[in-house]
Symmetry: C2
Subunit: 484 residues, 2 copies
C-alpha cells in the first residue's frame, strides 16, 4: 500500500472540504447565527490537516488498482468524518454515529436523516446538509484529481472508474479530463436552470438553493418537516421534472448538444428509464386516485413520488407509506431499479437491469437451441461477455450485502418492512423507505451499530460496492508492495 500517496490524497480532500465549508460560514454570517464559530473551527481543522499532509509530495505517485479503490473509499469516509464535525460542535447532532450517518447520507446523495425535527437546525447547517448532496452528486474525487501531480493518466482512470456510477457501455470521448469537464458543465448548467425556474415560481432563495442541491445530486434532504408538501403545484412540478432529468445518463445531453441524433435515439437505457417511469406513474395514478380530489391531483403526486424514488432522490409531497400496497410495492421495486448509469442517481441502474434481462434471454435461447451462438447486443454494439459477467457478479454481491445488512439491522427488533426498506433506501441511496423510515419517519430509532451498517451501505451503494469492500481485504493494507 502506497501510504504516502493515500495520505497526500486525503490531505487534498480535506483542503477541498475546507473550501466547501466556507459556504455555510457565509450563510451563518448572512443570517447572523451563533453556529458561525463551530463552522469556522471545522473549516480550520480541515485546512490544518490539509496543510500538514500536503507539505511533502509523496515519492511514488502511482497507485495500483486495489490502492486506487481503497483511496476512493477512504476519501469518501474522510469527507463524511470531517463533514460531521460542525454538527457535533454546534451540538445540533451531538452523537458521532448520528452526525456521521447524516453527513455520509448527504455526500452519498442518500438523504436519509436521523433528525426528528429538521426545522430546528440553523440555516448554516441546513445549507451544509443540502450542499453535501450537490458535492456528492458530482463526485468528490474529480476535484482532487485535477490538482494531483501526474504524468500518465493511469491513476486518474483507476480512481474515476471507481467513483463513476454504473456500467457505462458507451464512452464519450477518449480524453478523460475533457469528458469530465463537459459532464460537469452540463451538471452546473442544469443546476442553474432549475434555480432560475424555482426563483421565477417565487420560491424563496434559501429554499431554492437547498432544494436544487437536493434535486441535482438526487439527494433528497429537505429543509421542512413536511418535505416538499408545502410548495405550490408548479414548484412541485418543476422539481418532478428536474428529478427525472438528473436521473438521465448525462451522455444523452452531450449527444443532444452535439446534435448526434442517431446516438440519442439508440440510447436504449434512457428510453427504458422513461418507459418505466411512464408505466409506474400510470399504474400508481389509478391505484391511488380514490384518495385524491381529482385524477390530475393523483397523477401529480404519483409523478412526483415515482420521479423521486426511481431517481433515488427521496423528496416527497405526500406520505406514500399510507398508499395502497400495490403502489408501495411499485415504489419499493423502483428503489432497486434506480436511475440511469452516468447520472447522479443510485440503485442497481437501468442499464444493469437491461443487461440482466438480455443475459436471461440468451440463457433461455441457449436452452432452446443448445448449439447456437448468441451474442448480447445493446445500444447497437455487441456487449462483451465480461460486462455481462461483472453485472451478474455485481447483482450477487449486492444481494449478499443486502441480506447481511438486513440481518444486522434486524437485531434492533423493528418490524420487517422497516428493516428491509431501511437497507433498500440506504444501499440504493434513496433516503426514505417504508414503515418507521417512511417519508414521515426517520432513522433516529436505530442503534449505533445499525447506523454504522446503514452508513456503510450508503457509501457502498454510492461507490458501486467494490471500493468499500476493499477496506476489509487484509492484503490491501500490507505495507510491502508486491512487484507483479
Amino acid at each position: 500500500m502506497n501510504y504516502g500517496m493515500i495520505f497526500y490524497i486525503l490531505g487534498m480532500a480535506s483542503g477541498f472540504e475546507a473550501l466547501f465549508l466556507l459556504l455555510p460560514i457565509l450563510v451563518s454570517l448572512i443570517y447572523g447565527e451563533s453556529v458561525l464559530s463551530s463552522y469556522l473551527i471545522s473549516c480550520g481543522i480541515c485546512a490544518l490537516f490539509c496543510g500538514v499532509s500536503t507539505l511533502r509530495k509523496p515519492k511514488k505517485i502511482t497507485l495500483y488498482t486495489k490502492e486506487g479503490l481503497v483511496a476512493v473509499a477512504l476519501v469518501w469516509i474522510w469527507f463524511s468524518v470531517f463533514g460531521a464535525v460542525p454538527f457535533m460542535l454546534t451540538g445540533e447532532i451531538p452523537n458521532f454515529f448520528d452526525a456521521f450517518f447524516e453527513v455520509s447520507s448527504g455526500f452519498t446523495t442518500t438523504g436519509a436523516s436521523i433528525l426528528t425535527n429538521v426545522e430546528a437546525l440553523s440555516r448554516a447547517s441546513l445549507f451544509w446538509r443540502s450542499f453535501t448532496h450537490w458535492v456528492g452528486g458530482m463526485g468528490i474525487l474529480v476535484f482532487i484529481l485535477a490538482f494531483i501531480p501526474n504524468k500518465g493518466n493511469g491513476t486518474i482512470v483507476h480512481l474515476m472508474k471507481a467513483e463513476s456510477p454504473g456500467p457505462n457501455v458507451s464512452k464519450l470521448v477518449p480524453k478523460i479530463r475533457y469528458t469530465a469537464a463537459i459532464l460537469y458543465a452540463i451538471y452546473f448548467g442544469m443546476t442553474l436552470i432549475q434555480i432560475i425556474l424555482l426563483l421565477i415560481s417565487k420560491m424563496p432563495l434559501f429554499d431554492t438553493l437547498c432544494i436544487t442541491f437536493g434535486t441535482a445530486g438526487t439527494g433528497g434532504f429537505s429543509i421542512k418537516s413536511d418535505g416538499c408538501a408545502g410548495y405550490t403545484m408548479l414548484q412541485q412540478g418543476i422539481i418532478t421534472t428536474f428529478m427525472i432529468l438528473f436521473g438521465v445518463n448525462f451522455t444523452f445531453y452531450f449527444c443532444i448538444l452535439k446534435k448526434k441524433i442517431k446516438q440519442v435515439s439508440s440510447m436504449t437505457e434512457v428510453w427504458a428509464y422513461l418507459a418505466i417511469i411512464a408505466a409506474s406513474i400510470l399504474a400508481i395514478t389509478f391505484n391511488i386516485s380514490g384518495g385524491f380530489s381529482s385524477l390530475f391531483q393523483a397523477f401529480h403526486h404519483a409523478a412526483f413520488q415515482v420521479g423521486s424514488i426511481i431517481t433515488t432522490t427521496g423528496f416527497s409531497t405526500v406520505d406514500f407509506n399510507q398508499w395502497p400496497g400495490f403502489s408501495r410495492t411499485i415504489l419499493v421495486t423502483l428503489m432497486f431499479v434506480g436511475a440511469c448509469a452516468g447520472s447522479t442517481g443510485g440503485g442497481i441502474k437501468v442499464s444493469r437491469i437491461l443487461l440482466l434481462l438480455k443475459g436471461i434471454g440468451r440463457e433461455i435461447s441457449l436452452a432452446l437451441h443448445p448449439r447456437s451462438v448468441k451474442r448480447v447486443r445493446m445500444e447497437g454494439r455487441t456487449v462483451e461477455t465480461e460486462v455481462i459477467r461483472s453485472v451478474n457478479a455485481y447483482l450477487a454481491l449486492y444481494m449478499i450485502i443486502f441480506v447481511a445488512s438486513v440481518l444486522i439491522v434486524s437485531l434492533d427488533e423493528k418490524d420487517l418492512v422497516t428493516n428491509f426498506t431501511a437497507v433498500a433506501a440506504t444501499l440504493n441511496n434513496v433516503g426514505p423507505g417504508l414503515g418507521l423510515v417512511g417519508p414521515a419517519g426517520n432513522f433516529s430509532g436505530f442503534s449505533n451499530l445499525s447506523k454504522l451498517v446503514l452508513s456503510f451501505d450508503m457509501l457502498a451503494g454510492r461507490l458501486e460496492l467494490i471500493p468499500m469492500l476493499m477496506i476489509f481485504v487484509p492484503s490491501v493494507w500490507s505495507v510491502k508492495r508486491k512487484k507483479k
Copy 2:
C-alpha cells in the same frame, strides 16, 4: 411441436395418477368414508383419459429440447389438475383455483394450504394430500419415462434434466436409468426408516405415514391444525433429523454406501449446508431463549424450525411468526437459500449460492489483478464458465419472477410482509411464510388471480423456472417443426 408425443406422455401421466389414486381409495375403504365414490370417479377419469390417449403410439417419439421442457411443465400442470378433481367432487375444496392451488402445492412439495381447518378433511383426502408430496419429491416423470418406448436416451435425458433440481456439478454414473434406480432406492429406504422410527416412538400409523410423506418430499402439509406442535419431543426430534437428511444431496448417501470417503469429504455443498444449519440454529436459539423454559427447549424448537425452513419442508412446532425480528429474518433468508441440489428440497440451492460467491470472488480478484487468469473451482473440479453464467442468469430470472409475482399479489392489498413471504414461500416451495401466511395462517384470503400466480410460482420453483416459462413462448407452440 410434437403434439402426438406430448399427448401420449400426458396419457401415461394420467395412468400413473390413476394408480396413485388407488391409495386414498384404500384409505376411504378402511375408514368407511363416504368420499369413496368421489375418489373412484376421479380414478376412473384418469384411467379413461390414459386409455384414450395411449391407444395409438405416436409416430415420432423424439422431442426437441424446448418440447421436452414444455412436456415437463404440462405433465406437472396436468397432474395437479387431475389431482384436484377428487377435492372438488367431495366438496371439501369446491373452488377450482383453491383445489388446484392445494394439489400443485402438494406435488411441488410446497405445503402451502388454502384450508382454514385441515382437521375437517376426510382421512382419504388427508392421505392424498400428503401422498402427493411423496410423489412430487421423487419426481413424476421418472416413472413415465421408464415406460416410454425409446431407443436412444435423448428424450429421457432432456426430460430428466428439466425435472431434476439444482445444478448438479458431479454426476454419479453415466447410465441414467441405473442412476435413477439407485437414487430412488435411497429415497424408499430412508422413507422406510423414518416410518419405522416414528412407529417405535408410538406415533399412530396414519400420522406416521402422512408426516413421513411430508418429510421425505420436503413437503410439509400437516394433518393437524397445530402442525407438529402436538407430537412428543422425541417425535419432533426424529422429524427434525429426517428433514435435514432429506435436504442433503442424495449423491452424498450414494458415496457413503460405496465407501467413497474422499468424494464424501469433498462435497462442499453438503458441508456448507450443514454449517449454515448449525450457525442458524445457534443464532436463533440465543435470540429466542427468553421465550422458552430452558435453553434446551429453545434449541429444540430452533432446530426444528431451521431444519424445516432451509429444507423448504415447512412443518412447524411453534408459530415462528411470533418470534423476534432477527430470528424471523434468518428464517426468511433460509427460505431463499434452500437445500442441496439433488435433494427433494427447494429454494435457490446451496450449490448455486456457493457458485455465486465464487463468481463474486473471481470478479473482485479480477478487479484487483486485471491481468490474472482465474478459474472457479468447486468440489475439486474446475467449474465451466457456462455453469457460472447459467447460475447467474438463473438468479436474475428468479428475481424477475419474484418481483412480478409480488406486484400482482399486492393488488389484493394485504400487508407487504404477507405478500413478500407468500411469494418467497411458494417460489421456494417452502409452504408457510410470515404475516397472514405464517404457520398459524393460510393462503385462503388471496384472490383467484393471486392463487393462480402463486400456483405458477410453486410449479416454476419446483421445475427450476425455465420449463414453466416455455409455456409463454409462442414459437414453442407452432405445429410445424423446423429442421435444424
